[in-house]
């Protein structure tokens, strides 16, 4: 049995906001199955008593004062935007 079906691959692509071509859908079904089969190796290990790592090194929460500081100039922030209007990013209508 394969770990992930073509239909699931299409569902995952939709979650990831990717539109796959026919060939891509086929290719990724094959590839993800191979990778997940390989990943199933981890099930050889009993990890029921093992804490998952959250940080490899000893990182603690970092706090700072909530002070007002200058932000990036609006002109700079919009510089790389494909489209903008009145100081805002512009996109097509959400709904028709």
């Amino acid at each position: 049995m394969s770990a992930i079906s073509r239909k699931e691959v299409e569902h995952v692509a939709n979650l990831a906001r990717l539109r796959l071509t026919e060939e891509e859908a086929e290719r990724y079904t094959k590839d993800l199955n191979a990778i997940l089969e390989f990943a199933a190796k981890l099930n050889e290990l009993d990890t029921s008593a093992v804490q998952p790592t959250s940080h490899a090194t000893d990182v603690k929460n970092v706090m700072r004062e909530d002070e007002i500081r200058p932000s990036l100039p609006l002109e700079d922030v919009l510089k790389n935007a494909p489209d903008h209007e009145d100081g805002q990013f512009k996109v097509p209508a959400v709904l028709e």
């Binding site: 891509e24 290719r27 093992v50």
Partner: protein, 490 residues
């Protein structure tokens, strides 16, 4: 001999004596790229105007003596193209960011500038740092300087190839699962991945935030120590950067390794390692022994689980990090979208290359409802076991040593069809990232086919000083770092 073969102290004396100018250094870098990069395709963008302007300023400063020269004064540098540079296009070798013009400098970009180095060019890489061969560059693959039919490694393949070609005095790369060390090994240069948190990641386009780390690629260990000195340190803009003291790394290069205890994991020196690579590493161990170190075989029992755990974790983090590329605020927007959802879908589908999509898919799946425990959490638990493997060894040993890669560089196109086969090549490098440790790759010989072999030295967290000391002592006595490809000599 290239100008960039000289020691930093020699260059600085020549600059002080006016036998050399910063403009000369930058012109040498520009000429090397112009005349020789066609062979290896390591460079994506040259900022000729900006670099010459900066050189002129530094030359003036040298005359006026109004400012103390920085640690990396006048040295031409190339930065991997996932490190943002204000006003210099930064693409991550992705068509998605083909027109991205950063409005700020990454912390390392700023630090190399503050140290008075000159950023000359942005370097080729696997798209968004995903890959180990540079074949995933969205523009064109970089090639191995020792034989252009072979890959330079990746993802910092451009940074390593450019260094082997001596286009620059130093380059910067980034390492998520081996992306500094593996290309350094494949190209016969030195690559250092610092401890997670030693160098700020602010302005490094994120791939897997719990694993990514920036580091230098250089011609020798001394240069790596200089560059690390300049870029290390706590940064309030990166809350994962460590607030720990930065020692003087240059002072660590004593040449003395008497009494050093080396652990060699049997899982990474035996089966699965090419015999030529194994022989070279065993010869290096012998050399280190003759210098007063001792070594023992040790075990890292969870080694075989590191690659699958790594690919689940790195891809999960990537799928989340790369969600920001939506064609709204920056990047290339698809022009055929009717509504907002369409705009996301079309921009992302056109912008990302095949390997990036594959990993976004894998990560999205591993984090999706119903699979999180089976994949992501499981991988984080296995990560804990791998960290314990390292801790157990470091209780008795000062450093861990084994090959940087199981084999020397492979042919372009040889492994592109089989992602699992490609991923397995990362077995010697990914455990280090999972544990956040510092590691360095230094040249330790050449295979029959003339391709370089890399030796990897791993240290305790924040103990870059020890691995630099060991790597430097080895390098100075072995001398493999002095060899250059035929066409680079003269």
């Amino acid at each position: 001999m290239s100008l960039f073969d000289k020691r930093l102290t020699e260059i600085h004396s020549a600059l002080r004596a006016r036998e050399l100018s910063v403009t000369d250094l930058v012109q040498a870098s520009l000429a090397s790229i112009r005349e020789r990069d066609d062979k290896i395709k390591s460079v994506l963008l040259v900022d000729e105007e900006g670099a010459l302007e900066q050189a002129r300023k530094l030359d003036e400063q040298l005359v006026k003596k109004d400012k103390e020269p920085g640690l990396l004064f006048g040295l031409p540098a190339g930065l991997k193209d996932n490190i943002v540079t204000k006003g210099i296009r930064t693409t991550c070798a992705s068509k998605f960011l083909a027109n991205y013009d950063p409005i700020y400098d990454g912390t390392v970009s700023q630090k190399v500038k503050e140290a008075d180095a000159v950023i000359v060019a942005k370097l080729n890489m696997d798209e968004f740092a995903m890959g180990g061969s540079n074949e995933n560059s969205g523009f064109f693959p970089a090639k191995n300087p020792w034989n252009p039919e072979y890959v330079p490694g990746g993802s910092s393949g451009g940074s390593a190839a450019a260094m082997a070609a001596r286009h620059f005095y130093f380059t910067l790369g980034s390492d998520t699962g081996g992306s500094i060390r593996q290309p350094a090994a494949f190209c016969g240069v030195v690559g250092l991945k610092p401890t997670y948190g030693r160098v700020s990641r602010f302005g490094l386009v994120a791939f897997a935030s719990s694993l990514d780390q920036i580091g230098p690629i250089t011609k020798n260990v001394e240069d790596a120590a200089y560059v690390l000195q300049a870029i290390a340190g706590h940064d309030p803009y990166d809350s994962t950067s460590a607030d720990v003291e930065v020692p003087n790394f240059l002072e660590a290069l004593t040449g003395d390794i008497k009494g050093l205890r080396i652990g060699v994991p049997k899982e990474l020196i035996g089966e699965g390692i090419d015999p030529e690579v194994r022989e070279a590493v065993l010869a290096a161990l012998k050399q280190l022994e003759s210098m007063g170190a001792t070594w023992n075989e040790v075990s890292m029992p969870h080694t075989e689980y590191a690659v699958p755990a790594y690919y689940l974790l790195a891809s999960s983090e990537a799928s989340s990090n790369l969600a920001r590329f939506d064609g709204v605020r920056y990047g290339v927007r698809a022009d055929n979208a009717d509504n907002l959802l369409d705009l996301y879908m079309e921009s992302r589908s056109n912008g990302f290359g095949p390997e990036v999509k594959r990993r976004i898919m894998l990560g999205t799946y591993a984090l999706s409802s119903g699979y999180y425990d089976a994949y992501y959490k499981k991988a984080q638990q296995v990560r804990t076991l791998i960290i314990q493997d390292f801790n157990n060894i470091f209780a008795d040993y000062d450093v861990i040593l084994h090959p940087t890669t199981p084999r020397t560089a492979f042919r372009i196109g040889e492994k592109t069809d089989d992602p699992v086969k490609m991923y397995l090549e990362d077995i010697c490098t990914v455990p280090v990232n999972l544990a956040g440790l510092p590691a360095i790759s230094v040249p330790c010989g050449f295979a029959q086919n003339g391709l370089p072999i890399g030796l990897q030295i791993i240290g305790r967290a924040f103990d870059e000083a020890t691995i630099l000391r060991v790597a430097h002592a080895y390098e100075q006595s072995a001398g493999y770092h002095l060899r250059k490809p035929e066409w680079v000599r003269g």
